[in-house]
């Protein structure tokens, strides 16, 4: 099936295309009732080789569900996922399993994502056991090498996860993800369960690995500052929809959707001088994200948007193409009705310098 979401294809060499997601849907039946929770609504995007694609949203936006659906770790309810030319939905169970060599995931909670009873060495070489014919000795040697890649000593191979700090556990998860030399790794909030001091370490490590191993990432996060530091292109999600998708610099310099603007404005930069005038910003999102069980008819943001008009309440919003690098799901923004120069909406000073 094809989405009615406009053309989400981004210009570029088709050979560069690694993953194309088209009209992805994921619905959950709510336990003990007839209602349906729509975690992902018609999501379309593409990931090119070597890039980091950011997916950012608040809790409940469906971003983690999306990450799992893209790898078919969760069965999508609809839509097409094309990875390296294979349509994932059409693959047999075995074909899909073997294709997992090329697509991996790192989870938010490192302790939860490691089997507490397996020694780290066996754990991080699990993909090799499944995808290669390496002997046990070869796998052990590779485990030591992988641990080196992620900045851990060889002794860690014999440790159980419980003996490691969460930062070290997360490094092990990363080692497991890169073990079989995948093309794509979904990073599902890889730093948000870690002590804040280790966040930068992990992000730096991920950046180094990307360069060294020619990886593409889908980086899922609620932290705009982190997404800005790390991603090449960014999709902003709200209530299971992509509301804006653009190149990083474009998105942060000229956010078009009111939700993106609100999110950006609420992100606090570590600069005391930025606080001056923060209070009289134009876009402030009041209230909270509505329930994904009972979705509104028109624009999903209508209940929180400061620019809401009557048309927004009734008309379902499509993703509109602004340029080949920028799409947004807001008719007013698309028609130039919400022309907000960055000066008007008070991007904190430090961020403006970086973006410039």
């Amino acid at each position: 099936m094809s989405s009615g979401d406009g053309d989400s294809r981004v210009a570029g060499d088709p050979a560069d295309l690694l993953l194309a997601v088209d009209g992805l849907q994921k619905h959950f039946r709510v336990h003990g009732s007839k209602s349906v929770l729509q975690a992902c609504n018609n999501v379309s995007f593409e990931v090119r080789r070597g890039e980091t694609f950011g997916i950012v949203g608040e809790s409940g936006s469906g971003k983690s569900t999306l990450g799992r659906c893209v790898l078919r770790l969760l069965e999508p309810s609809g839509g097409l996922i094309e990875f390296q030319g294979h349509e994932l939905g059409a693959l047999s169970k075995r074909e899909l399993r073997l294709l997992r060599k090329d697509m991996q995931i790192v989870y938010q909670e490192p302790m939860e994502s490691l089997n507490p009873l397996w020694r780290i060495g066996n754990q991080i070489t699990e993909p090799l056991r499944n995808f290669t014919s390496m002997s046990k000795a070869e796998r052990h040697a590779r485990a030591v090498e992988l641990l080196g890649f992620v900045g851990l000593r060889p002794e860690v191979a014999d440790a159980l996860p419980g003996a490691l700090s969460t930062g070290m556990q997360q490094r092990c998860s990363i080692a497991r993800a890169i073990a079989a030399e995948p093309k794509l790794i979904v990073l599902d909030e890889p730093t948000s369960a870690l002590p804040p001091e280790t966040e930068t370490d992990i992000v730096t490590l991920l950046g180094d690995l990307q360069e060294r191993l020619d990886l593409s990432y889908i980086f899922i996060s609620h932290d705009l500052a982190l997404v800005r530091r790390f991603c090449d292109r960014v999709a902003v999600m709200y209530l299971g929809q992509v509301v804006e998708i653009a190149d990083r610099d474009e998105l942060f310099a000229r956010p078009r959707h009111p939700y993106t603007q609100g999110l950006l404005g609420s992100t606090l930069t570590p600069n005391p001088r930025a606080r001056v005038g923060r209070g009289d910003r134009r876009v402030r999102l009041e209230g909270e994200i509505p329930s994904p069980i009972d979705l509104p008819e028109g624009c999903f943001l209508a209940s929180r948007c400061p620019f809401v008009l009557e048309r927004c309440q009734s008309e379902f919003q499509e993703l509109r193409v602004l340029s080949d690098r920028h799409q947004t799901r807001c008719w007013r923004a698309a028609e130039g009705d919400l022309e907000l120069a960055p000066e008007d909406q008070d991007v904190p000073a430090s961020s403006r310098e970086e973006a410039g």
């Binding site: 900045g151 001091e197 930068t200 609100g262 600069n271």
Partner: protein, 345 residues
């Protein structure tokens, strides 16, 4: 001065040893000011914040220091004086509100949210139940909870984590405390909600002269909402300064590393602290941090003489022998070259 804490020390008694997680910490909160308390995980900042209320977790005990609130001594360990439990009640909750990070433990799981907030307000203000409910609804609305009329009838488990956190903040604010201690109170919230709450607190600060101690690891929160920053490390206050100075003229190596880790100032790889946080059961002689500090030098006495908190600038104190040189050293520091496949300890 709204709150003065002098030389506060907290110990955790374990079999055969005592772990002094806070040592001689002093801080002051003027009315209408927000004090940020920062430091890496396990540095003692939460313990200190709780100790202001004469409270500790588990086997902890306040073993030194005094706390004065609006000129009234709450306790003074050296004189062996403290409020009675009855007298404490007039401060805890009423004059001094507390919001912790994990809200579910703070609510009674079998009572409705509304009842609990009403009750908290009634106990501390003597209001009627009708007044209390009005106040509850008003506060729930202010902390950004949709449809408070319906939410007051929810049980704690029916609220999402973020919603429970906001309900807890509403409860802490209901008796109009003069001081609010917020221990990572907004950490788990989405940024749009966090902003609503911080703005509400900021408004209370301006209109009601609410004083605050904000324990946070988020330098964005600190930069945007605090007036003064206290940095702790290994149980000690090692630097405090007005917020602009803290972000621009910071002098303690721990502060430089903390800011660098969040993308402020220097390259974090060049100025990071080595190894694990100092084990406060076995503190080394000299500066507690010297084994981890990239700028430690035996000539300056880092490994032999314990540095005192001393004036670095007007209203800016630092506990570091090399405070004057650290900025220049950090400027010159280069990230260590990475060996192939090596460790980056």
């Amino acid at each position: 001065m709204l709150l003065s804490v002098r030389g506060l020390s907290v110990e955790y008694r374990q079999v055969g040893s005592a772990n002094r997680t806070v040592t001689g910490a002093s801080l002051e909160v003027p009315a209408g000011e927000v004090v940020g308390l920062v430091g890496e995980s396990g540095c003692g900042k939460s313990t200190l914040a709780l100790a202001v209320l004469g409270m500790t977790r588990r086997s902890g005990q306040i073993v030194g220091g005094s706390v004065e609130f609006e000129g009234q001594k709450l306790f003074d360990v050296s004189q062996g004086s403290s409020l009675t439990e009855d007298e404490w009640r007039a401060y805890r909750g009423r004059e001094i509100g507390l919001v912790v990070q994990h809200p579910r433990g703070a609510f009674n799981p079998v009572k409705r949210i509304g009842e609990q907030i009403d009750r908290h307000y009634q106990v501390h203000s003597g209001a009627s139940s009708g007044e209390a409910r009005r106040r509850t609804l008003e506060l729930l609305e202010q902390v950004g909870i949709n449809d408070p009329q319906r939410r007051v009838n929810s049980f704690p488990h029916e609220l999402s984590g973020g919603m429970a956190q906001r309900a807890l903040i509403a409860m802490a604010l209901s008796p109009s405390p003069k001081l609010l201690i917020a221990d990572e109170a907004t950490t788990a919230l989405d940024v749009t909600i966090q902003e609503q709450i911080l703005d509400l607190l900021d408004e209370l600060r301006r209109t009601h002269k609410l004083g605050m101690i904000v324990v946070s690891h988020d330098m964005g929160v600190v930069a945007n909402y605090c007036d003064r920053v206290y940095l702790m490390n290994a149980g000690e206050v090692v630097e405090h300064a007005p917020v602009e100075r803290f972000f621009e003229e910071v002098a303690h190596p721990a502060a430089i590393a903390l800011l660098a880790a969040q993308g402020v100032g220097h390259d974090h790889r060049a100025v990071r602290l080595r190894g694990l946080p100092v084990d406060t059961r076995r503190v080394p002689p000299g500066c507690r941090l010297h084994l981890r500090c990239p700028f430690a030098s035996s000539d300056a006495g880092c490994s032999t003489v314990h540095p005192e908190l001393s004036n670095f600038h007007d209203g800016h104190q630092v506990r570091c022998h090399r405070a004057a040189d650290v900025t220049a050293l950090a400027q010159a520091a280069r990230p260590p070259a990475e060996s192939d496949g090596g460790t980056d300890v």
